[in-house]
Symmetry: C2
Amino acid sequence: MRNHAEELRALQDTLYFIGGKWRLPVINAICNGHRRFREIERSIPGITTRMLSKELKEMEMNNLVTRTVYADTPVLVEYAPTAYCRSFGTIIQEMIRWGRQHRKTILKGRADKP
Amino acid sequence: MRNHAEELRALQDTLYFIGGKWRLPVINAICNGHRRFREIERSIPGITTRMLSKELKEMEMNNLVTRTVYADTPVLVEYAPTAYCRSFGTIIQEMIRWGRQHRKTILKGRADKP
C-alpha cells in the first residue's frame, strides 16, 4: 500500500524547496549554461535584480550553485550548477512538457469556440 | 538548438498554474481517491477549510475536478479528478522522488557531522 502521509511529506518538502516562482527558472538558466549575473538576469524576463540576487544567495547557501570570483578588472563573478542543481532536471523537463501541452489545449479550446 | 525562451515560457506557465503550496497536494489527494471535502481536508495536514474551499472552487473552474452533488440527506458532495488533473501525475511523482532523495541527503549530512 502507498503511504499517503510519507508521499505528501516528500511532495511538500520539494514544493517548499522550490518555493516561489523564480527558483526553477533560475536553476534552469544556470543549468542551460548562463554563468554571469547579467546573463542569467537577461535570460529571465520579469525577474528583478533584487530578486535574482536574493535567489542566488539562497541557492549558494543551499548548495545549488557555486560562486567563483575571478580577481580580474573588473571583477568577474561566475555561477555554476552543482549536481544538486541538476537533480531538478527531470522535474523541470516534465514541467516544460506539461506547459507546452497546456498551451496547446488552451489554444485548441479557443479555436473550437464559434 | 533548444529554444530557451519557449522552454522558459512553458515552465513558467506550469509554475503559474500550480501556483501556491496547496494545489499539488490537493490534486494528489484527489488522484489518490479522496472524494469528500472532509476526507481531502484530513489527508492534508495544515490546510485550512477556507484554503481548501478556495482551491476546490478554482480547480473546478479550471476543469481539474468535477463536483457532483447527490441529493441525499445530508447532501453528499463528491469531487473527482479529470484527465487534466491526472496529467500532473508525472510531475507529482518526480517531486515525491526528489523530496525523498533530499530527505536522505539531509539526514546523511547530519549523520556525517561530528
